[in-house]
């Protein structure tokens, strides 16, 4: 009994239960809509693990949301809700793209430069939301939403400018090939490469996708955020403000400065996410958009499923990426609408919100077991 309840108390248990509930709810909804849920879910798993190509694509899909998730998680440690990650992502992607179009250096300089441009743009945009909060007490959710829309229209405006717009497309010119983080971008177009991919089906399968080095940069940045949060005095201050703003202020921590800096770093992560997407994914350009792509907003779900832990975002990002990608084959194979994936993710987040109830249940179970034991002992003594 004690073993069971202590297992229930582990933070990861709640997350796992939430994920299972997400699958369960999706299965129930699919069944109600007249699809065979087992068939549907197995099609989905097939779409996730079926081929090396699928796994490569999932990593590609997960790379940006791992970073935006980390951005949200970082800010949430201070009690800030970075819904503006979407706008920071858009600004990061835009700055990265413009840099990649106008500058052409060797890859060893080009890639860091583009990444820096994206991070700087995202950081500035994040800091703006932080400044609005610190200076004028504007709730970061509200300013974040507004800044997201402004970023979207601004990005569309720049994309439509003659200097950057690629004729007959809905986007800008692609960045210079030196900025690509995909592996051997020049070689891949040659005859020799085509032959190689034919001879090595496993590697070929992966090489034909957008599989790129971005995931390494993303993981490095996640580790950096985790280091800042848990191993530096800055991170300590930040978490102190998050758990009790007034106590932190009383202890001499400059709350306002911390708000701006935290939002700046969160923006930096989201901006890096945008830059990696431009460098790693076809068409290596910013496209005009009519609605948000959701890379920043999905970061919210990634962060909450990870329970606010930056390192956890790597796993929840992969999970989310897998669900998004596997959901496509759900549509091919079973014909069920792909929205079921978002319902599933939403349900997972919903149950993650509820997971604090589990330790309470564990307490109750232990209490009941203890009372029962006492009663048994008494009965044993009296008889």
């Amino acid at each position: 009994m004690n073993k069971f309840t202590s297992l229930l108390r582990k933070p990861i248990t709640g997350t796992i239960i939430a994920i299972l509930m997400g699958f369960l709810c999706a299965a129930v909804i699919l069944a109600c809509a007249g699809y065979n849920p087992i068939h549907a879910l197995s099609a989905m798993l097939q779409g996730i693990f079926g081929r090396p190509k699928y796994m490569a694509n999932i990593i590609v899909k997960a790379t940006p949301i791992i970073l935006t998730g980390c951005s949200v998680a970082f800010a949430y440690k201070m009690g800030l809700f970075n819904i503006g990650a979407e706008g920071q992502y858009i600004f990061g992607a835009l700055a990265a793209c413009l840099t990649g179009i106008t500058v052409n250096l060797s890859p060893w300089l080009e890639i860091p430069l583009i990444l820096l441009a994206g991070m700087a743009a995202g950081a500035l945009y994040g800091a703006l939301a932080g400044w609005l909060k610190a200076k004028f007490n504007i709730h970061e959710v509200i300013s974040g939403i507004m800044l997201n829309w402004i970023a979207m229209y601004f990005s569309n405006f720049i994309t439509g400018m003659e200097a950057f717009h690629k004729p007959n497309t809905s986007g800008t010119f692609p960045i210079n090939v030196s900025g690509f983080t995909t592996f051997f971008p020049n070689w891949k177009a040659t005859e020799e490469a085509a032959q190689f991919m034919k001879d090595n089906p496993f590697l070929g399968d992966i090489l034909r996708t957008d599989f790129n080095a971005g995931i390494i940069i993303a993981i490095a940045l996640v580790l950096l955020s985790s280091y800042i949060l848990y191993k530096t005095s800055k991170g300590y201050q930040l978490r102190a403000v998050g758990s009790n703003r007034y106590a932190a202020e009383f202890a001499g921590i400059d709350v306002k400065k911390n708000i701006i800096e935290t939002m700046m770093f969160a923006g930096l992560l989201a901006g890096a996410s945008g830059a990696l997407a431009i460098m790693g994914n076809n068409p290596h350009a910013v496209l005009e958009i009519a609605a948000f792509e959701g890379n920043g907003l999905n970061g919210l779900s990634v962060a909450f499923i990870a329970n606010g832990s930056p390192i956890g975002c790597i796993f929840s990002g992969l999970l989310f990426g897998g669900l998004l990608y596997g959901g496509q084959s759900l549509q091919y194979v079973v014909g069920a609408p792909t929205e079921i994936v978002n319902i599933m993710v939403g349900t997972i987040v919903f149950f993650v919100a509820l997971k604090d109830i589990i330790p309470v249940i564990a307490d109750k179970m232990e209490h009941r077991a203890a009372t029962k034991k006492l009663v048994d002992q008494k009965e044993g003594a009296s008889s």
Binding site: I138, I145, M146, I150, A291, L300, F304, E339, G346, F350
Partner: protein, 304 residues
């Protein structure tokens, strides 16, 4: 004069869905429950309204069904944030994910896999009938606008002139004190969150049954969040939120009216206007307004 009345008419039209949603935000937050999920509830309402309106050919039934669907969605949020004392922001985010996804899912099921519903034949009736001309045509708004104004007045009366309103505000300011006076905190909060969902759902229907005549993925694109901004900008007052929404509507109307004219501003820059304006307005007002004290905090009996 013509342009001016057109501006007012368009502003009222765009403001109405936000007014209803913002009133929902006011009542929920006055009772101490943050409701970020308004956007999701609006989307559910927008779809339900359009679908029921299409199948029954009766827009009023659509509005009713939309309110019901919004209320049902709100029960989820209430369950999480009141009964289970969950993080209300996370629960709201979940609602915003589930709402649009459910709406699109059912849309594809009911309309042969299409992500948009069929256009509704019978839209909500207009104030001056279908044959109005001149200024009357410009100001010819639909009845939803009147409902929104009435709802604002009723909410103001309820919150400030009735026993019920006093209870709601007490629960949002100091639930422990309210509890000692014998007010059932959880019950009051449940009622307020459900009302908030009903209003948000009707707000969604106001988009799909009067502004556009069908539901699509972009029917509800941030109006719920704008409504939340209006709640803060309006200092959590019904009439404050109403005026804030009218202002946002005016900004949007300006975009429409200017965009049709000969002004040579790029459309993307014009489209930013409402959002830039909101931030500038908030810079001047946000510091002054004060949220209900217990807003966003679950009430745990006996906890200090």
């Amino acid at each position: 004069m013509n342009t001016f009345t057109l501006l007012i008419g368009v502003a009222l039209m765009y403001a109405t869905p936000m007014v209803l949603a913002a009133l929902g935000g006011v009542i929920s937050e006055r009772a101490g429950v943050t409701n970020i999920g308004i956007e999701g509830m609006m989307t559910i309402g927008a779809f339900t309204g359009a679908a029921v309106g299409y199948f029954t050919n009766n827009p009023w039934l659509g509005v009713l069904a939309a309110g019901l669907a919004g209320g049902l969605t709100a029960i989820l949020h209430a369950l999480a944030s009141i009964t289970f004392k969950a993080d209300q922001t996370v629960s709201g985010v979940a609602i915003n994910l589930i709402g649009p996804a459910l709406a699109l899912f059912f849309c594809r099921l009911c309309f042969d896999g299409s992500a948009v519903t069929e256009p509704v034949n019978a839209k909500l009736p207009k104030l001056f009938g279908d044959n109005a001309t001149g200024i009357l045509a410009n100001l010819n708004v639909d009845f939803m606008v009147i409902i929104a104004i009435l709802a604002t007045v009723i909410m103001w009366i309820v919150l400030y002139k009735t026993k019920w309103g006093l209870r709601i505000r007490a629960v949002g300011e100091n639930p422990a004190a309210a509890d000692t006076l014998g007010i059932n905190v959880e019950f009051v909060r449940y009622v307020c969150v459900i009302i908030s969902g009903i209003l948000a759902g009707m707000g969604g229907a106001a988009v799909t049954l009067s502004i556009v005549s069908q539901f699509s993925q972009t029917s509800i694109a941030g109006q719920g969040y704008m409504a939340l901004a209006a709640v803060i900008f309006g200092s959590w007052l019904p009439h404050g939120a109403f005026l804030a929404c009218i202002l946002f509507g005016l900004a949007q109307a300006l975009v429409v009216v200017l965009g049709g004219g000969a002004v040579s501003v790029p459309s993307e820059i014009l489209a930013m206007l409402p959002y830039v304006m909101t931030i500038i307005i908030l810079i001047f007002f946000a510091g002054k307004s004060r949220a209900p004290k217990a807003n966003g905090q679950p009430y745990i009996k006996g906890k200090r």
